[in-house]
Amino acid sequence: MTAAGANIPMQSPQAASSRQPLLSVRGIKTYYGNIIALKGVDMDVNEGEIVTLIGANGAGKSTLMMTIFGNPRAREGTITYGGRDITKMPTHEIARLSIAQSPEGRRIFPRMTVFENLQMGASMNGMAHFDHDLERVCTLFPRLKERLQQRGGTLSGGEQQMLAIARALMSRPKLLLLDEPSLGLAPLIVKQIFEIIKELNEKDGMTVFLVEQNAYHALKLAHRGYVMVTGNITMSGTGKELLENPQVRAAYLEGGSH
């Protein structure tokens, strides 16, 4: 592959089908004051996919994820979810459209018990399926089941991450947005969490959009990936293609030594 040909075709097998993508981001520009953080981002997430977004620190990955949730709001461009324009919706209303987010840095409620944290996750759909869903996340994360009575703040980092994901799952989302679930965790726990993401996708057909620094794990797991550099998507392709791409390898997988 030549250097000019690093642009892998945008279309993945799923996107080529006539179905509309579940989440589609078109020409998004986000500013922090006068500073432009996203310089016109296009991105699609199809139903049933795991899509990952990788990039260096400060590339704008988390900003893109937060922009999808309406905080900060995009100044230009459109975001559609399930055919609906959500660009100008308030965050809490977006969260009610069966999109769940596990924000960066976990953000669990530290003084509330694990059980109460999970209740908070379920509160937007009126606690209708609470018992059933509690059982489900407890099967996914047996560790949490043992700690239902414990305060969130007393959990270890890995457990807090599990709780953050479990809390997001309590709202029965179709699309799960995960921001750096591997942040600050031991490799063994990272592996475990990625396995759970895979299980959610394969068994429950959940669509996952994963923002990661851990490029190797993320690309191995994902169906498709995007690479972001300073507010722009510079490359996209299937996870496998990106893993084999020399530029990606040089920048994100081999410590940039090439």
Partner: protein
């Protein structure tokens, strides 16, 4: 010689399990004995001159007091060091990576008996005072003090919703107290409405003002919110002073109609309360009625708060205090959540305000200055944010404490007859606050009671749960 003072028994109860009581008593007794030895040449005799003669005046009472104080202080030091080393020996649950023991803590055990006990004392208080003081008129002071404390308990519980649960620092809570008080004062004097109609109206109006305050401050947090609420409190007070046509300005509104016992007035006449129930007329009937009225209102506040905590709105308040961004991403409308917290907190402030007006029979802007807000906030912060029982204890200490100071006349024996303990009450307040911030920076009761307690408690020891094995 060293008669153990009453205070020491109270102190030993607060001591942790590992505290060796007998050894501490022995040591304290030794110290007191040394004090006694030292006092004989220094304190025991005083030379008095009468004409040309010199007398030795014995002062054994003073010696006893000093020895008792030394004994008590020594015991207190033991208690502190013991509880500190105990705290060091037990790992903090905040740092635990192992499963924290789910059995009820010492506090929870104590509160199981403590709460019914407190409630019982509160219910029986007028009767206890009547029995101890031996007459209705004699117990007036104590019932009055009880009413004052309960008013602050209620205000503390109301503010606890805003500050303790929702985490919104409100320095202008007294504004809602003022709205409630003036609502009753104005409606009853102008339209002749009865207290029982004005009470809900005062709550509704205060809640309405809570919302009005809520809207502009929705985006603010922490210090900025505190400043704006402080300003709001002052605005209300200044409006009350300057809108003379409506509020009669700084002179206030007087001769507010007194509450009736569900239509029966507390008068000496034929159709008065005393005559209806075949009692001898006494002004204290009204006071005791007020006592139970404010007790009922305070308990209502507590009951509603406890219920709300278990409902989605209450959980949303607490989640908002913990993490606003996480709340929003979970689909919680933070705007509505903040507004409900402000308005429900304000509503209880309004209830308390209209009670204040009916009890005093007179309202003026003087009663609603910033110091009131500060005291209510201090009650909430010292009690432990979000803790109902902590707030009640803090209200008793902060409001009842200065009254006890008035009665510490025995200190005059030490510091001379010109000594008035009451003058030092703000100093002691300050010392108490500093001590609290050093030893219990998160309030008297900082432990947050979970809103849901699961029935099955699985005691899986931490060693069975290895890291990385789900």
């Amino acid at each position: 010689m060293t008669a153990p003072s009453i205070t020491t028994t109270a102190q030993t109860q607060t001591v942790s399990r590992s505290f060796d009581l007998a050894a501490a008593f022995k040591d304290a007794a030794k110290t007191a004995l040394i004090m006694l030895g030292l006092s004989i040449p220094i304190l025991a005799y005083k030379t008095d001159q009468s004409g040309a003669d010199l007398f030795l005046t014995p002062r054994w009472g003073l010696v006893a007091i000093v020895c008792a104080i030394v004994f008590g202080l020594r015991l207190l030091i033991h208690a502190f060091t013991a509880s500190r080393s105990y705290a060091r020996a037990t790992p903090s649950p905040r740092q635990a990576t192992e499963l924290v023991d789910a059995s009820p803590s010492a506090f929870q055990k104590a509160s199981r008996f403590g709460i019914p006990f407190f409630l019982g004392v509160a219910l029986a208080f007028p009767f206890l005072v009547y029995l101890i003081q031996g007459g209705l008129t004699e117990s007036r002071y104590w019932v009055d003090l009880g009413i004052l404390i309960l008013t602050y308990v209620m205000l503390g519980w109301g503010l606890n919703i805003v500050v303790g649960l929702a985490g919104l620092l409100d320095l202008g809570y007294v504004a809602f107290y003022a709205v409630g008080a003036y609502t009753y004062a104005l409606l009853s004097t102008t339209f002749g409405l009865s207290f029982w109609i004005c009470l809900p109206l005062a709550g509704i109006l205060a809640a309405f003002w809570g919302m009005i305050l809520g809207f502009p401050v929705l985006r603010l947090r922490g210090d900025y919110l505190a400043i704006v609420t402080l300003a709001f409190g002052e605005i209300i007070r200044l409006v009350l002073i300057n809108w003379v046509d409506l509020t009669n300005g700084g002179a206030g509104i007087s001769s507010i109609p007194r509450a009736t016992f569900f239509g029966i007035p507390f008068t000496a006449g034929e159709d008065g309360f005393a005559a209806t129930f075949g009692l001898e007329f006494n002004g204290m009937h009204r006071m005791i009625f007020f006592y139970y009225l404010i007790l009922a209102l305070a308990l209502l506040t507590n009951f509603v708060t406890m219920r709300l905590r278990k409902l989605p709105v209450g959980r949303a308040w607490e989640a908002l205090r913990e993490d606003e961004i996480a709340c929003r991403s979970l689909g919680i409308n933070t705007t509505n959540t903040k507004l409900t917290a402000f308005s429900i907190g304000a509503m209880f402030g309004g209830f308390a305000g209209s009670f204040f007006a009916v009890r005093q029979g007179f309202v003026s802007p003087e009663s609603f200055n910033f110091l009131e807000s500060a005291i209510i906030l201090a009650i909430v912060v010292l009690g432990g944010m979000g803790s109902q029982i902590g707030v009640a204890i803090a209200a008793i200490v902060l409001v009842g404490g200065p009254e006890i100071l008035r009665n510490l006349t025995f200190l005059q024996a030490i510091f001379g007859s010109g000594f008035d303990p009451n003058e030092y009450r703000l100093l002691l307040f300050g010392v108490g606050m500093v001590a609290m911030m050093v030893w219990r920076p998160r309030g008297l009761i900082s432990e947050r009671e979970p809103s849901v307690i699961l029935k099955e408690r699985k005691a899986i020891s931490g060693s069975l749960v290895k890291e990385g094995h789900g």
